[in-house]
C-alpha cells in the first residue's frame, strides 16, 4: 500500500471515530433550546435532583477518600502474599457492569440479602434510600481513586520514607509528612476521575436505590425520568452534565501538567534518576 493511501486510510478511520464520538455532544447542544436552559434548570423538580446529587456525592467522595487513601497506601507500600489478588479486587468494579453492581448491593444489603436479617433487626433499610445511592456511588467510583492512589504512592521514591524513619519518625508520621504530600498530585488526579464517575453513576443506583424523586433521584436518573415528562428538561440536564464533565476533565489535565512541572526540579548535578533530591 502506498504512503499516501495508508495516510488516507488512517485519516478516514480517525474521521469516522471522531465524528461518531462528537455527534451526541454536538446533537445535544444543537437540539437543546439553549436560551431556555436557565429556566428549565430553575424548575422546582431540579432543586431536589441537584440536592440529592450533591449530598450523596459529597458523602460518597468523603468515604472514598477516607477509606481509599489508607487502602491504597497499604497496597502500594507493603508486599505480602495475596496482594495482587487484593489489587484485582479493588479494580473489579471498573469492569463490572453497573447494573450488576446494583444487584450485588441488593443481594448484600436488601431485605432478603446477606445482611438482610441483621439490618432488619437493627431497623435499618437501605435499598431505595439516599444511603443506597451513597453506597452505589462509592462502590463504582472508588476504584478510580484507589487505583490512581496506589500508583501515586508507588511513585514516591522509597528512599524518602526510609530517610524519614532513620530520622526518628514512625510509620504514621512518615505517611503524614512525607508520603502523603509527595503523592498528593496523583491522589488529586485520581479523585477527580472518581468524582466524575460518581456524578454520572446510573446503573447501580437505579437498581439498588431506585428512582425515587427527592430521595434517590440524581442528575443522571433525572434525565431518565424526564425523557417522557419533559424532554427539553432532560436535554437541559444533559447539557449541565456535559459542562460539569468538561470542567472535570479540564481540571484533571491542569493537575496533571502541574504535577509534571513540579517533579522536574532536579539539580543538573544529580547523577541518579531518583526523584529524591
Amino acid at each position: 500500500m502506498g504512503r499516501a493511501a495508508f495516510s488516507a486510510l488512517l485519516a478516514l478511520c480517525a474521521g469516522i471515530s471522531l465524528t461518531f464520538l462528537a455527534l451526541p455532544l454536538v446533537a445535544l447542544f444543537v437540539e437543546t433550546p439553549l436560551g431556555d436552559v436557565p429556566d428549565l434548570l430553575g424548575d422546582p423538580v431540579m432543586r431536589d435532583i441537584i440536592a440529592v446529587t450533591a449530598r450523596t456525592n459529597a458523602i460518597a467522595n468523603a468515604l472514598i477518600l477516607l477509606f481509599g487513601t489508607p487502602t491504597a497506601y497499604l497496597l502500594a507500600t507493603r508486599r505480602f502474599r495475596g496482594r495482587s489478588l487484593l489489587v484485582t479486587l479493588v479494580e473489579l468494579p471498573l469492569v463490572l457492569p453497573p447494573a450488576v453492581a446494583g444487584i450485588g448491593l441488593l443481594a448484600a444489603f436488601g431485605a432478603g440479602g446477606l445482611f438482610g436479617d441483621e439490618l432488619q433487626d437493627a431497623g435499618i433499610v437501605l435499598p431505595f434510600t439516599e444511603w443506597a445511592v451513597v453506597l452505589a456511588v462509592t462502590f463504582v467510583a472508588s476504584p478510580f481513586y484507589v487505583r490512581q492512589a496506589i500508583s501515586a504512592f508507588e511513585s514516591v521514591d522509597p528512599l524518602l520514607p526510609a530517610a524519614s524513619r532513620t530520622l526518628g519518625a514512625g510509620p504514621a508520621r512518615t505517611f503524614w509528612r512525607v508520603s502523603l504530600p509527595l503523592a498528593a498530585g496523583g491522589l488529586v488526579a485520581g479523585w477527580v476521575l472518581a468524582f466524575a464517575r460518581g456524578i454520572g453513576e446510573f446503573g447501580a443506583t437505579i437498581v439498588f436505590a431506585g428512582n425515587v424523586h427527592g430521595e434517590t433521584q440524581t442528575l443522571p436518573l433525572g434525565i431518565y425520568e424526564q425523557l417522557e415528562a419533559n424532554f427539553d428538561l432532560a436535554l437541559a440536564i444533559g447539557v449541565l452534565l456535559v459542562i460539569l464533565s468538561g470542567s472535570i476533565l479540564l481540571t484533571y489535565k491542569l493537575v496533571a501538567t502541574w504535577r509534571v512541572s513540579n517533579s522536574t526540579s532536579l539539580s543538573p548535578f544529580a547523577l541518579t534518576r531518583s526523584r529524591s533530591s
Binding site: A163, T166, L167, A169, S263, S267, S277
Partner: protein, 303 residues
C-alpha cells in the same frame, strides 16, 4: 548500612551499640529505625524535595537547626528547595539533617562517589575535619581505597558479602590478606607458582621470570609488591639478592608529586628527578628491582 539503620532485616546475627542490642536474631530483637540512634546519609542524599533546607534539617529534631545550618555553611540556603542546590550543597544538607537527631553513630553511604573530582577533594577534606571534630563513631562505605586511607581509622574489605579483612588502615595498605585487597590498595599482583626454599619461597611467575620472596608458601599464589617498593634502573643490577623484572615503559603520569610509571605489567613509582635521570618515556626499556623482603604472598581469588 541499611541493616544497621534498621531498614533491612538480616537473616541472622546481632547488631548492638554500647551493649544495647538493636537487632538480635536469636533473642528476637529488632528495633525499628526510629528507635535506633543513627544518622544515615544516603548516597543519593534523599532530601525531601517538598521541604525547604531548614525544614529538612529540622526534621529529625529542632534544637540544633541553626547551629547545624551555621556549621555546614548552608544558612543562606535555609529557605531554598533541595532541587535548586548543587551536589556539594545537598550533601552538606544531608549530613546536617542526619546530625540533627544527635545520633550515636553516623553512617555515610559512599559520600564521595556522586561528586565530580574537584568537589570530591574539597569534600574529603571537609569530612576529615568533621569526623575529627564530632568525636562520633562513623561508618562509611567507599569503593576508592584512597578515601578510606584519608578518612578511616579502621577498614573492612567486603567482597560478595564476605569480610575479607578487617584491620587498621595502615595494615590493610601494607599487609593485604588476599589478592583482592592487594589490588584494591594499589599493589602489583603477579600470579605464579611458589616453591619453598630456605629463607622463603621461589615464585615462578606466569610472566615467565622467577622471583624470590621472604615469605614461605607453596602452590598457586599472588606475589604482591607495592609501586613504591620498586626501584627503577636502566639495566639489571649485578646484585643477585635483588629481584629484577625488565620491561617496556608504557604510561607515565604525575600524581601527587610522584611519577607513576607503567612498566609492562607493573605499576612503579619514582621521584620526578629519577624519572628524568633515567629518561623514562613511553617505549623506553627499563628494569624494576625489589628485594625479596618486599614481596608478600597472598592466595589468589581464582582458587
Amino acid at each position: 548500612m541499611r541493616a544497621i539503620a534498621g531498614l533491612v532485616r538480616p537473616d541472622a546475627g546481632r547488631i548492638e551499640l554500647d551493649g544495647r542490642a538493636w537487632f538480635d536474631s536469636k533473642a528476637g530483637v529488632d528495633l525499628p529505625p526510629e528507635e535506633r540512634s543513627v544518622g544515615l546519609v544516603f548516597q543519593e542524599y534523599a532530601l525531601f524535595p517538598h521541604m525547604s533546607v531548614r525544614a529538612n534539617v529540622s526534621y529529625g529534631g529542632t534544637e540544633r537547626t541553626d547551629e547545624l545550618l551555621d556549621r555546614f555553611r548552608i544558612g543562606h540556603l535555609a529557605d531554598a528547595r533541595p532541587g535548586a542546590l548543587s551536589g556539594g550543597e545537598r550533601q552538606r544538607v544531608a549530613v546536617a539533617r542526619a546530625l540533627a537527631r544527635d545520633p550515636a553513630v553516623l553512617l555515610l553511604d559512599e559520600p564521595l562517589s556522586a561528586l565530580d573530582a574537584h568537589t570530591r577533594a574539597a569534600v574529603r577534606a571537609e569530612l576529615q575535619e568533621l569526623l575529627a571534630e564530632l568525636a562520633l563513631p562513623a561508618i562509611f562505605i567507599t569503593h576508592d581505597f584512597r578515601d578510606a586511607a584519608a578518612l578511616a581509622d579502621r577498614v573492612g574489605v567486603i567482597v560478595d558479602g564476605r569480610l575479607r579483612q578487617l584491620d587498621r588502615v595502615e595494615e590493610i595498605g601494607r599487609r593485604p590478606a588476599d589478592a583482592f585487597v592487594a589490588t584494591l590498595t594499589g599493589a602489583n599482583l603477579l600470579p605464579g607458582i611458589a616453591r619453598p626454599v630456605p629463607g622463603g619461597a621461589e615464585v615462578a611467575l606466569d610472566l615467565g621470570t622467577t622471583i624470590r620472596s621472604g615469605e614461605t608458601a607453596s602452590g598457586r599464589v599472588g606475589a604482591v609488591v607495592y609501586p613504591w617498593e620498586l626501584t627503577l634502573a636502566a639495566t639489571a643490577p649485578a646484585d643477585d639478592d635483588l629481584n629484577a623484572l625488565a620491561g617496556t615503559v608504557g604510561d607515565v603520569s604525575v600524581e601527587g608529586g610522584r611519577v607513576r610509571v607503567r612498566l609492562g605489567e607493573l605499576v612503579c613509582e619514582c621521584s620526578p628527578a629519577d624519572a628524568e635521570r633515567l629518561g623514562l618515556a613511553r617505549g623506553a626499556a627499563s628494569v624494576a628491582t625489589f628485594p625479596a623482603a618486599s614481596v608478600q604472598l597472598v592466595p589468589l581469588d581464582d582458587d
